[in-house]
């Protein structure tokens, strides 16, 4: 299988008043086309910043070094303008906090259609058609009505589905989902994970699924990365790593998962 993302010696540093903080420390990994990579690790281990740096959405005080080849283009060498043509078009991003991740004063329809109108130069009508299509994929009911609603009128689960919908507007090759279910209840969590499984199966989309919840990762991922303090502790096939962890830290992480989940 073809490699879609190849990360080499990636480091992320933050310039703070307390000096330089190393959030990601010289990591390397790759993702194959159509694969789902799970990234696990405790809070602050650098999971999020790894993918923020690859897509160029780090905070102003952050810098990234290394190589991140996406379809043989090094994303870290692109300008902001070039990157913005890839983000939202070829790479979709789903964020951790659905309650605050949508623009409060823009209705759902406009937040969806602007993506394909900008990247694909779609007409408003075509974009609306696509919007209805993706909302159907994420299993949102009464779509016509929903397009006119504002984020505050939606529940957390619905907003996260809209976020996933937004990431699908341009049929991306690759989706990064950063703790997509952390803020949601267990039932909604299951339904969202089912959407990811469907995307993988029917659309052949490559997924990076970030979570500190091993249970969530094991439901969707083929391969897994264990991160701690900015480094990769262990990587490999998801089932193998979870059933026979080699590293002490992985064992420790697994011991925190309730028995029934294994």
């Amino acid at each position: 299988m073809q490699t879609i993302l190849n990360v080499n010696d990636l480091s992320v540093n933050f310039d703070t008043s307390q000096g330089l903080i190393k959030a990601v420390d010289n990591i390397s990994f790759s993702i194959k086309k159509g694969e789902c990579l799970g990234i696990a690790g405790e809070s602050g281990s650098g999971k999020t910043q790894t993918f923020f740096s690859i897509t160029g959405i780090l905070s102003d005080n952050g810098t990234a070094t290394g190589i991140a080849d996406f379809n043989d283009v090094d994303l870290l060498k692109l300008t902001e303008k070039e990157l913005s043509k890839i983000r939202g078009k070829k790479i979709g991003f789903i964020f951790q906090d659905p309650m605050t991740s949508l623009t409060p004063h823009m209705n759902i329809g406009n937040q969806l259609i602007e993506v394909s109108m900008i990247h694909k130069k779609n007409t408003k009508n075509d974009a609306l058609k696509k919007a209805k299509e993706v909302l159907d994929i994420v299993k949102l009911p009464r779509i016509e009505n929903l397009l006119k609603k504002y984020p505050h009128e939606l529940s957390g689960g619905m907003r996260q589905r809209v976020m996933i919908g937004i990431s699908l507007m341009c049929d991306p090759l690759f989706i990064i989902a950063d703790e997509p279910t952390t803020a949601l209840d267990v039932t909604t969590q299951k339904e969202i994970l089912k959407i990811f499984n469907d995307l993988k199966k029917y659309k052949d989309i490559t997924i990076a699924l970030i979570s500190h919840d091993i249970g969530v990762i094991s439901e969707v991922s083929d391969t897994i990365l264990i991160m701690n303090e900015g480094r990769i502790i262990e990587k490999g096939n998801c089932k193998e790593v979870l059933t026979s962890p080699k590293h002490e830290y992985t064992k420790h992480l697994l011991s925190c998962v309730p028995e029934w989940m294994k």
Partner: protein, 307 residues
């Protein structure tokens, strides 16, 4: 929306009555009366005048008479400007003060917001430091200090602009007073706008917009401004109040025949009806602006339910 307006009107009337009562009370507490002079009038004449103006009646009755007149839209005769009613005085001065105020508010809002947004986008650059530095001075220097300095420089040294008079609303006559009135407000608004824009730029939904690949310019115009302008909308009424008090002084400095001077002259000479007439006008204007800013807020922010 109509419900909101009706509700506000219902609140506005008792508020106005309280304000009228307060001004009425304050003026009576101040020593002397409208017809007290350095050379005392013969008591019989003073008695006659007081009767003519109902000033001999008990206070509460005076207040009642006054209120009922106001309800009919009659602010009463001026005690000091002979042969003029308060309505006539206000009508002659108000267009001038209004022109001054509206120009100052529009300029402050536009320029203040624009500078604030650009400073936020270019934060920690020379532009940002320059805007913030100058605005700090702008906040510290009140318009009554700024106005003479500006007239001295542009009016007297350079001779570009007239330094006093209304001249039928000639634009050149307006420039110096409007600039002196606006600069402190521009300073305040640009600082507010800068910090609220920075806050919005750091919010999660802007990160989403960036992750969607939206071009920078569109992120600012479509995603940032409508959120970051909200504190400015809330500031609209306080800004107006600031401009009103500022304009009383500015009108004096630039010799503009607005209502500001009636307020000052009226207060100094215990022209009861004139002072409270101007106060009623100011209070109504302020309440109108609070209503306006509430309506604007509801339009800009869908989370606000109009009640």
């Amino acid at each position: 929306m109509i419900q909101l307006i009706i509700k506000r009107l219902a609140i506005a009337i008792p508020t106005l009555i309280i304000i009228i009562a307060f001004v009425f009370g304050l003026m009576r507490v101040a020593p002397g009366g409208p017809f007290t002079n350095e050379r005392a009038l013969p008591p019989e004449i003073e008695q006659k005048i007081n009767e003519a103006y109902d000033l001999d009646k008990p206070l509460i009755q005076q207040f009642g008479i006054y209120l009922s007149k106001i309800a009919k839209g009659d602010l009463g005769p001026s005690y000091k400007y002979k042969d003029f009613t308060v309505n006539e005085l206000i009508l002659s001065g108000f267009p001038i003060s209004l022109t001054l105020g509206i120009s100052a508010i529009i300029i402050s809002l536009l320029l203040g917001s624009l500078l604030g947004i650009i400073a936020a986008i270019k934060r920690n650059t020379i532009f940002d430091y320059a805007v913030m530095g100058i605005s700090l001075i702008g906040i510290c220097v009140p318009s009554f200090v700024l106005a003479p300095i500006l007239s001295l420089f542009f009016g007297l040294y350079l001779g570009f602009l007239p330094i006093s008079g209304w001249n039928g609303g000639n634009i050149y006559n307006l420039i110096l007073p409007v600039v002196s009135l606006s600069l402190p407000q521009i300073a305040i608004i640009s600082r507010m706008m800068r910090s609220s824009t920075i806050e919005t730029l750091n919010s999660n939904f802007i990160r989403t917009a960036r992750a969607k690949g939206i071009p920078k310019r569109r992120i600012i115009t479509k995603h940032v401004i409508r959120s970051s302008i909200l504190p400015i909308i809330d500031y609209l009424a306080p800004a107006t109040a600031g401009l009103m008090t500022g304009s009383i002084i500015i009108e004096q400095i630039f010799g503009l025949p607005g209502i500001g001077r009636y307020f000052v002259v009226g207060a100094l000479q215990r022209d009861y009806t004139l002072v409270s007439g101007v106060m009623i006008l100011y209070a109504s204007l302020l309440m109108f602006l609070i209503l306006l800013s509430d309506i604007l807020r509801a339009i800009l922010d869908p989370r606000v339910k109009i009640k």
